[in-house]
Amino acid sequence: MALNVLVFAETTDGLSLKKSTREALGAGRRIVDKTGGGEVSAALPVVSSGELPAALAAWGADRVLVAESSEFASYSPGGFTAAVVAAARKTQPSAILIGGTAHGKDLTPRLSARLEAPAATDCISIEIEGDKIFVLRPAYGGKVQMKVGFGKLPAILALRPNAFEALPEDSSRKAEVETLEVPLEEKDLALKITGTEKSKSERPDVAESDLVVSGGRGMRESENFRLLEELAEALGAGVGASRAAVDAGWRPHGDQVGQTGKFVSPSLYIACGISGAVQHLAGMIGSKVIVAINKDPDAPIFKVANYGIVGDVFDVVPAIIQELKKNA
């Protein structure tokens, strides 16, 4: 049975597609190709679409619904919701896929309410059995995984960043591009985002980054995170922190990885001076490769690490940086 999929196309400042959107397109493509006959549509709320429809096609969309409005210059919770709702009414999807970014997570329940459709957040895999959709999502701090089915479609699925693979970019792929009229009511614009402040860090955000260097109590003080910034720079990684490091005031709250922080699934997670409390493991256990550097050979972090080095972070990390630079 053919299933149609709708993907929310999220951009960085209206210029390029977010990595999480490319991953959602890849996931959508796999659903459609497996079931046969359906199409992957993308809903694109933006000021001016430019090259974005072509990019959406190259990453897997068959059909692009472009909603252009000056209201879409930055994220508008009501406006973006209205745009995806309008696209859903037009394309009748069985699943709506959303990258689990800050905006994607904000959008998901709003769509669920407007479409009266069930939603699952933080999905790490999607299974199709016949015409039924199931997802797997971690719960209870990753101590269990939940297989979820849906009593009504569309199923609205927010995907954990880095948990799904994008397809290779293929610029020979073409999509049907059409204009999407989005009727905006006053209540859609009642909440206004009046501006954004960029953080001072030049490193990618910890939740989105495919490589993460993270520090804990063993870093001893705020200043010492410079060493991890340096390692992150050598790798092109984001910098995270344990709760201990955040509560000590060494790092901003937004960097915290763990049960009361962010859940991350990068390809590589390097834990420096982090003992590995269960609440921290909850946030990073889904990483593909985990490296632990800790003085204490009995630290629980070594139980989940693929590679461990027993030693002082302040000896080991500079040696790694040197090694990376040597063979760069």
Partner: protein, 249 residues
Amino acid sequence: MNILVCVKQVPDTEARVQIAGEGKSIDIQDVNFILNPFDEFAVEEALLTKEKVGGEVTVISLGNESAGSVILTAMAMGADKGLLLKTNSQADDPFQVARVLAAQIAETGFEVVFFGKQAVGNQHGQVGLLVAELLGVPAISEVSELEIDQKSARGKREIEGGNEIFQCSLPAVFTTQKGLNEPRYPSLKGRMAAKKKPLDIRAVELAEARFVIESLSYPPQRPRGRILGDGAQAAAELVRCLREEAKVI
């Protein structure tokens, strides 16, 4: 001002989580339950709002009988009264939970409603926004800075690589997260006082779930790792492994 705060009882984050025999829920024997950590920020913000603009703070929780204990915790922190929406069914579907809460909140009346950004158990992160949509009022999720006066609110929410600055009129819903405030601890005096505060209990029915838990499983075991060595001398081997074996850099 009518200030509401919705809270949830969740397993302690330290708890060992075991899947129950039927395979669809967790075994709650020997599990210690606590006020959801993100809800502590919601309760604190409700109290701060009351201190600033005046009014009354009502704590609402949906759950079984034992959920009354987290309402007591919130009242010990300083909330004025509590309402337990009692159900014995497993409240897995965030939409159905939100429906019941929204109906109750509409009946109670409100200027602001606070929720924690998500519960550490099911980790949906949906109920606060669903309730706002069902009520047709503005909602701001994951608020990290907030200023409320009699008629409006402004503040910040964290996004990747920065903050968004928002403003809206009241009534409105906010979901709270770490960094917004420092939740107070309930004092002994507060705990004693809480027992005398009004706690209303109403039985509620949840509609049929459309978010259906088919099964719970334990995550796959991670492959056994290895210690590459001690100190700086192991750095070269690590970089080689990451490049050639794991191929992640």
